[in-house]
């Protein structure tokens, strides 16, 4: 049985190799990926090299402008906290939440879609009708209700709330792909070989779904970043003294008349992240779409 599974993976390697070549040829994708990598490294390691922590107050330099003092490169907020360090922490939290939320939504979506598509019949109809109903609800309300219920600012609740509403589209895409896969010969062969439903799903269906799922995941990450910042901006997400890009932008918007850098610094980082992820996702989709060849 394992030989069949192996040959499936090997069969899809050609597409992957093609995709890698095509992506490295696209200048936009390479630049976008480099910027994302750079920002990630900065966010992970940058704060360690600074003299300040994200919650350290510097009473000598309250609301200092960028480059006005030697030690605070991008200025401070009205409590004297270093803006660069806080923004890098914000990038870290935004990336963390969006990655975990994407992983959660992929796990639910892939399982749901693959089971519905493979089992079919009444089960499929019921499962997809459930997705339709959730789809027609504005997802924001579900998250607002969820964050109202549980303790505000708990990162766990944010992960779950954002991940729990992001899986619907994945489930639909995966179900469609599974329906097409189900009729293929190698699935029939696996069934004839006596493999159970769970084993077929795990070893044969899901490995063949990776292509479209990866593309959709890259496009999901910026949505999740946006969504997390949106909640934090409204005060429903990450709470003080922790910072996320959204809550930093909200703080900056309050002070923009006297200290515009407090708005522009986190906003610049957020925009760079969002634009780069969107460009990379689009390039990845073009590279993996066989119709484009």
């Amino acid at each position: 049985m394992s030989e069949i599974a192996l040959s499936d993976v090997r069969g899809s390697r050609g597409l992957w190799w093609d995709a890698v070549v095509r992506i490295t040829r696209s200048r936009v994708a390479v630049v976008a990926a480099s910027v994302i990598l750079l920002l990630t490294i900065l966010a992970l390691s940058g704060p360690a090299f600074s003299r300040y922590t994200y919650d350290a107050l510097d009473w000598q330099h309250l609301a200092a402008a960028p480059f006005a003092t030697a030690s605070h490169w991008l200025g401070t907020d009205r409590l004297g906290r270093d803006l660069l360090v806080r923004t890098l922490y914000g990038v870290r939290i935004s990336l963390l939440i969006s990655l975990v939320a994407t992983a959660i939504s992929l796990a639910i979506g892939v399982t749901w879609g693959a089971v519905a598509g493979y089992v079919g019949g009444r089960t499929d109809e019921l499962m997809m009708r459930f997705v339709d109903v959730l789809y027609s609800l504005p997802y924001l309300f579900i998250v607002i209700i969820l964050t109202t219920l549980f303790q505000r600012g708990s990162l766990m609740v944010l992960f779950c709330a954002i991940g729990a509403v992001g899986w619907l589209t994945t489930a639909r895409i995966v179900r469609g792909q599974t329906l097409a896969l189900r009729r293929r010969e190698f699935i029939e062969a696996a069934r004839a070989g006596g493999l159970g439903t769970a084993a077929i799903l795990l070893r044969h269906i899901i490995p063949n779904l990776i292509g479209p799922v990866v593309v959709y995941a890259t496009l999901t990450i910026p949505q999740m970043i946006l969504f997390e910042s949106f909640l934090s901006f409204l005060g429903l997400g990450v709470q003080e003294p922790l910072a996320s890009l959204g809550s930093l932008i909200n703080d900056g918007a309050q002070e923009m008349q006297s200290a515009p850098w407090m708005l522009l610094v986190p906003a610049g980082f957020l925009v760079a992240l969002l634009v780069c992820f969107n460009l990379l996702g689009d390039a990845l989709r073009d590279a993996l779409d066989p119709r484009e060849h």
Partner: protein, 307 residues
């Protein structure tokens, strides 16, 4: 067409009931009641409050009463803003949010479609690249970034327009919020229109029109425009949902007295009835607008209704 319309309408009712039921039970069963933060309440006062708001009854009875109230357009009293009913709060804010949303959608149609058409007609020229670049930015930039930045540039530096506030809906206060709300929708409509027109230009009937010697403008207005707009119409349903959620941010940024802030305030204060009322109003609005978009699309494209 009638059967199609009937099927769509029949689909909306159970969804609405699900929204009401889920939001009722989830909010009611949540830990931490609406009076939990007021520490100084004696047990007696607390019991009286619970009785006054009907919270001492069993949950199914509360649910039934709530549904009965809804049928009469009564969303119950607000738990936190004393002396106000949720219905009063909503009817106060809805004109502000409504006019803002309608203006944003109109702006998106009036600016987005011409931009998309221009980009497709002058394909691969400076015009196309400029518009496409703006579209990428417009889609990527969230309202809570564009709003404060626009206020900073036009309000603080140039001083052309007020930074925030409402002043009984005077147009000067209206420009920046409506623009902030409309920008991503404009960008999306422009992108859809561009892709759609490029698609239509490939069709046989356009080639025939060219072969008959019609000028490019005759072809655009007389033949290509109507099929181009089909995907734009089907986007308007999701667009209104987007505008509804976007208005939350815009109202927060510009301090407008609309309904959006009630949802946020209600969520922070655990004002049960206010959150439920807002979710139901917004949910109904989104469902209705999607339904209208579906019906218009089914009317324009017969293949959809016979599926």
């Amino acid at each position: 067409m009638l059967r199609y319309a009937f099927r769509r309408i029949a689909g909306v009712v159970p969804t609405l009931l699900v929204i009401i039921t889920v939001s009722f039970f989830v909010v009611r069963l949540a830990p931490g009641g609406p009076f939990e933060q007021e520490q100084t309440l004696s047990p007696q006062v607390r019991a009286n409050l619970d009785r006054a708001y009907g919270l001492d009854r069993p949950i199914p009875v509360q649910y039934w009463r709530y549904l009965r109230g809804l049928a009469h357009g009564d969303f119950g009293p607000s738990f936190k803003q004393h002396d106000f009913s949720v219905t009063e709060l909503i009817t106060q804010g809805l004109p502000v949010s409504g006019s803002l949303g309608i203006t944003a959608v109109l702006l998106a149609i009036l600016i987005g479609i011409p931009l998309g058409l221009a980009a497709a007609v002058w394909r691969q020229t400076l015009m196309d690249y400029g518009i496409t670049g703006l579209v990428v930015l417009g889609i990527a930039l969230p309202g809570f970034v564009t709003g404060p930045v626009l206020a900073l540039v036009f309000g603080v530096y140039l001083q052309w327009l007020p930074v925030a506030g409402w002043e009984e809906g005077s147009p000067r206060y209206f420009v920046l919020p409506a623009l902030t709300l409309a920008l991503p929708v404009i960008a999306y409509v422009a992108r859809l229109t561009r892709a759609s027109l490029l698609d239509v230009f490939q069709a046989n009937f356009i080639r025939t029109a060219r072969a008959r010697g019609l000028g490019p403008w005759r072809i655009l207005w007389g033949h290509a425009l109507r099929p181009t707009l089909l995907p734009v119409v089907s986007y308007l349903g999701p667009a209104t949902a987007f505008v509804v959620t976007g208005s939350l941010v815009v109202e927060t940024v510009f301090g407008l007295p609309g309904t959006g802030r009630y949802l946020v305030q209600g969520a922070i204060n655990r004002d049960y009835t206010l959150v439920m009322g807002m979710v139901i109003v917004y949910g109904t609005l989104v469902l209705l607008l999607n339904l209208i978009a579906d019906l218009v699309y089914g009317w324009l494209d017969p293949r959809v209704r016979n599926e």
